[in-house]
Subunit: 370 residues, 2 copies
């Protein structure tokens, strides 16, 4: 965040900045979604929807799970939320009590543990590295499970590492957590943005999991603030009540827009964009390694690479500051993501066009060669 | 809620229902707001905004406070939120600890105490009646203030009573709460919808108050899910951090739309609508009294009348059910709003056109005359 602010400030002073720090797709909302939204707008009735979301949209998402993962999901278990943030609020709100503990990886997206603290619960960070593809597995869970452990968060593809959990590992985690009557929270907001084969959904292995997803990444609809949550049946009533109380409803126009996002025309456009992300990711991976960054486990999704910069510095934060000041290249230092060797890591985001990434690499090369 | 569902069900079966139970303006989003939103949409860039909201919108709201209340508010203290719901989440999230107690009126909008429970804090309901215009005052606060009391919620105009707190009482409440280093939460979401003189804002008396407002009622923008929160300077950093973590940002298009809602053309339209609400309120007040409902303190705002129905029944819930079944008239029984003589009260909402209200009164007359 701090680096992002510094970058914006330099930009406002006229400096040209190559943004490799931004966790938001550079693509605009696709045309089919815009066109459908304009039509709805012109009808003028932008009213509350049911707290759980428009029935048509919940139904459409259920169909999407059938199509993408070949799993049946009862639309009654699908809740439309104000972004993945809203889905996290509901999930943790209905499943955690003060003092409960949630296991997650270190490194990790920082808002996750802030959410846990918001409910006076406790995060236990499990250090992970390339040895487990920066993901959790059943062995790690067993090893770190404590008396107060209540939940496990798995994020795949992950921020900041771009790693994807193996289907077998995900299945074993689900089984272990279910066996201990804990809650498995599967953050799948980067699904659809993978370089190789599709990421597995926790829903393929059990109905007793919480799945959090969003229209912000693959669907490129950040500013619409819409996501969804799938919950075990036993939690439906509690989630319904909580959503009614703390949100009333998710923005209606965003729900109509999301419905339009499932048109064939739009999904085709999204696949093209996903392919473009994959191309950028491949380019960045090759170039960073050429320059001397160590990337022991090849990132398979999202739009991030978490690179080891210890060949150049023992202080990734200073490295990021200097790169920004000297060359106008903006990246995110590891300290934003936890305390597992953050000084040795930099997160590169490829949320900018290829020619800008090329320019970023030129600047980086000059910087590390200097 | 239960009555609303029954009413919708009857409607879907073909029954004609006069809706006097709905807490949402019947007016569509005004044209100037729609037109501005279409323009923004067609530019396609619906991205995250800063967590606190678009600077232009925060500035515009500050100007609105100057114009409406002649008070200066630093835009840095104004946070754009996903509806008043989002404003409540932030307010209570930064100011309450588990076990803290918040004072509010009984009757009251039910989500308020649910919000308090969400933070493991405790609501102390203070029974109010026509003797204090269904509002709190300094004497009541003094009387009910306990060891764990941390906050006081004042809602004016109020739901379900339509009552407006006298400026002097509001001032004295603010002073008492500040003197005890508590938090005064002023829910001003129905401001602008008053029949007589404008409701006072807590900001007229102190900067050390939380003011919650919304574009849902006066501005008729429910489905856009946008509101705002004004906080004491000492809380700005905490609110900023919390908003960043739990919302990322308020929907961008809704923020652009809200900005357009302050145009002169739109404000003129909103004043016409407010006048129409006042006409409906006056009609309903006169008619309900004519039929024999007791309304000891004349409602001055919002779009509700909380009428005493004890001339007709000792069970307002059964009364509401029967009215719905027999005559297709939907109203809300007192039990939705607390435990202060709920069986004697019915909430009538005038969020439907005048000719429908007239029809509602005809049905009610037939029902109580039967």
């Amino acid at each position: 965040m701090e680096l992002l602010q510094k970058a914006r400030k330099l930009e406002s002073q006229g400096r040209d900045i190559v943004h490799m720090e931004i966790g938001e797709p550079d693509f605009a909302t696709p045309d089919p979604v815009i066109r459908a939204s304009v039509e709805i707008l012109q009808q003028g009735q932008i009213k509350y929807t049911p707290a759980a979301g428009m029935p048509e949209l919940r139904e459409k998402i259920a169909q999407y799970y059938q199509r993408q993962y070949a799993v049946d999901v009862d639309p009654q278990r699908i809740f439309i939320t104000p972004g993945a943030s809203g889905a996290f609020l509901l999930t943790l709100g209905v499943s955690l009590n003060p003092g409960d503990e949630v296991l997650m990886t270190d490194p990790c997206y920082p808002c996750n543990s802030n959410f846990i603290s918001f409910f006076d619960a406790v995060t236990r960070m499990i250090p992970v590295d390339a040895g487990t593809d920066f993901q959790l597995n059943a062995q790690l869970l067993e090893q770190h499970w404590g008396k107060r452990t209540r939940g496990v968060l798995i994020t795949s593809p992950a921020n900041p590492t771009g790693s994807v959990i193996a289907a077998k590992d995900l299945q074993q985690c689900v089984e272990l957590v279910n066996g201990r009557e804990g809650c498995l929270y599967s953050d799948e907001i980067y699904h659809g943005l993978v370089h190789g084969s599709a990421a597995a959904s926790a829903l393929q292995f059990s109905d007793r999991v919480f799945v959090i997803n969003s229209f912000s990444k693959y669907f490129a609809m950040t500013g619409w603030r819409i996501g969804w949550l799938i919950v075990p049946e036993a939690y439906c009533d509690a989630v319904q009540r909580l959503a009614q109380n703390i949100f009333i409803s998710t923005p209606s126009l965003s729900q109509h827009a999301a419905l339009a996002a499932f048109s064939e025309e739009n999904l085709e456009e999204l696949e093209n964009r996903a392919a473009e992300f994959a191309r950028r990711g491949e380019f960045l991976y090759q170039e960073l390694r050429r320059l001397g960054f160590a990337i022991a486990s090849r990132p398979e999704g999202a739009f991030y690479i978490y690179a080891d910069c210890s060949k150049f510095t023992a202080d990734s934060y200073q490295f990021a500051l200097d790169l920004l000041q000297q060359e106008g290249g903006a990246v995110t230092p590891g300290k934003d993501f936890g305390s597992n060797a953050p000084h040795r890591h930099i997160r590169f985001a490829y949320t900018t066009a290829m020619h800008r990434l090329e320019e970023g690499i030129r600047r980086l090369e000059r910087f590390v060669g200097a």
